[in-house]
Amino acid sequence: MNAMPEVQTKMHTKRSPGFSLRRHPWYNVVFSLLGFIWLIFSFYPIFYMLMTSLRSQQGFLTGIPWMPSAHPTIENFVTVLQAGFGQFFLNSVVVSVSSVILIVGSSLLSAYVIVRSKNKFIRLVFNVFLVGLAIPIQAAIIPIYIMITKMGLYDTLLGLILPSVAFGLPLTLLILVNFVRDIPNELYESMGLEGAGDFTILFRLVMPLSIPSIVSVSIYDFIQSWNNFLFPLVLTQSTQTRVLPMAIVSFQGQYTMNVPVLMAAVILSALPLILAYVFGRRYLLKGLLAGFGK
């Protein structure tokens, strides 16, 4: 036995850490029971969203509140769509997609320079970006509001995009720098010998290799921007510039006690993420973690 520890470990590499629990069935049962209790607690509110969105207002007031309706209806979704939801959805798409492109694009350019040059000033600039990781958006929102107003960008989508980009940069840059740094030096050198310039190296070597981390970080930045509430709350006011989190809040004021309509709005507002969860769960979860877990 002792002569072949290598074989021993290899044989078990396929097993997950929990396997020893199999030999302790009662322990497994208790653990699963706790897991099931959490399942109810974490899933029930989502289930509540879904079943309430399919109820009529009448059914909501008279039906059994914790059971699905016997006569489901999609009228609430129709109401939400007729209340300008399409426009709000489009606004959110414009803001989020532009933010992601600007954040990831400018981070990639800077990450390349930060990794490739030994310049002291560049190092300092990178450290300043890292300090930005510690500063919450809320700490800068007052001057941003005044600034955006003075620039004439108050209540415009551009006025939402610009500060979102600034606050998305630090983490994106950190993740991309960590990734680009891992590209072996020999690859740069061989391309450099062929006389390739920085842009060629960036587009032909760095970008293709970084696709996985670009995808993850783009998903992360998209979600941040999609769900951001403070910027639109402070920087917009009209229906033309309303994005989804603001739309939910204003629906809440408009349909105060019409809970089914609100739950329909809540579900529609998460549509891209729900679809991503259904069709690309692995990518979505990896993106959610961004660079925090490896």
Binding site: T9, H12, R15, S16, P17, G18, F19, F31, S32, G35, F36, W38, F41, S42, F43, P45, I46, Y48, P65, L102, S106, L109, S110, Y112, V113, S117, N119, I122, V125, V128, F129, G132, A134, I135, P136, Q138, A139, A140, I141, I142, P143, M147, V165, A166, L169, P170, N227, F229, L230, P245, I248, L262, V266, S269, A270, L273, R281, L288, F292, K294
Partner: protein
């Protein structure tokens, strides 16, 4: 040439630097300046030095907001850490039903804080909320408990809902952490006849040290920024019982139009973020951990 700076490289730095300078760094510095102004954002600002600071510190507003923020920090850490840790270990197991549970565990991550807040405010509604109906059904309470409307329960409920929203994220972190623990450790423990809780305390937990650190850092720094959920659920109320720093800053600046006092709170928030990050970096070696993982 390889490691030098060319004009081309300087150009490549420009987009990120300009965005960050104009819309993050400069506003931070302007906030410090604003904290010395008496200004409603429209009329002519008046420089009043440290008057806002002494006012906010003397009337107890800042201390109250800071204490409430610390309450959220500690409360959400205490709730989130053990639950996420156990769920992470649970999901990392090979059993089929566990990964099936996992499909549902992560669903809260798909919704914004605003969506989560609105949904829960109806679930907890004193008149028709299902929490009260269920409690009444099993013989607890009179069925009209106003969870978010009473100073005694509002903060606790807010902390529980923050935890509800973010536990899936931390579960994901721990699940990833557990999956990286080498199986050989468990096999060795099994040969030694270790019980499940022994393996948990002597293998799983110590091996998750770095995951625990990242999760803790994220919970503590994240606690400074919980604004959306509180805005939707309680708007800082009832009274000031859930008016954490970010909430108080918003209300002073954008509701009371008191830019100076709002900026004082914003600067405190920024300082808290920076101090917290430095302390956490020093004590936990968060960055060392990252560089250690880089090699993997």
């Amino acid at each position: 040439m390889q490691s030098g700076m060319t004009w081309q490289r300087w150009t490549m730095m420009i987009p990120a630097a300009v965005f960050f300078l104009i819309f993050a760094l400069i506003p931070m510095l302007i906030a410090v300046y604003y904290s010395g102004l008496q200004w409603n954002g429209i009329s002519n600002p008046q420089w009043i030095g440290l008057a806002n600071w002494s006012q906010v510190l003397a009337n107890g507003e800042a201390v109250r907001a800071i204490l409430l923020t610390i309450e959220v920090m500690i409360g959400s850490w205490i709730i989130q850490t053990p639950i996420s840790l156990l769920l992470g270990v649970f999901l990392a197991g090979p059993q089929k039903h566990r990964s099936f549970f996992g499909l549902f565990y992560f669903l809260p991550l798909l919704f914004s804080s605003v969506a989560v807040g609105v949904t829960w405010s109806y679930i907890l509604n004193p008149n028709f909320g299902i929490v009260n109906s269920i409690l009444q059904g099993i013989g607890l309470g009179g069925g009209s408990q106003n969870w978010l409307g009473l100073p005694g329960t509002a903060m606790i409920v807010v902390i529980i809902l923050i935890s509800w929203q973010f536990i899936p994220f931390h579960t994901l972190l721990y699940q990833g952490g557990v999956k990286q623990i080498p199986d050989s450790l468990y096999e060795a423990a099994h040969i030694d006849g270790a019980k499940p809780w022994h393996t948990f305390f002597f293998i799983t937990l110590p091996q998750l040290k770095y995951t625990l650190i990242s999760s803790t850092v994220l919970i503590l720094t994240g606690s400074l920024t919980y604004f959306d959920l509180i805005y939707v659920l309680t708007d800082g109320g009832p009274g000031t019982s859930t008016s954490v720093l970010a909430m108080d800053m918003y209300q002073q600046a954008f509701v009371n139009q008191n830019i100076g006092v709002g900026s004082v709170l914003a600067v405190i928030l920024a300082l808290a973020g920076i101090i917290l990050s430095i302390v956490l970096l020093r004590t936990t070696g968060f960055t060392r951990m990252e560089s250690q993982l880089e090699g993997m």
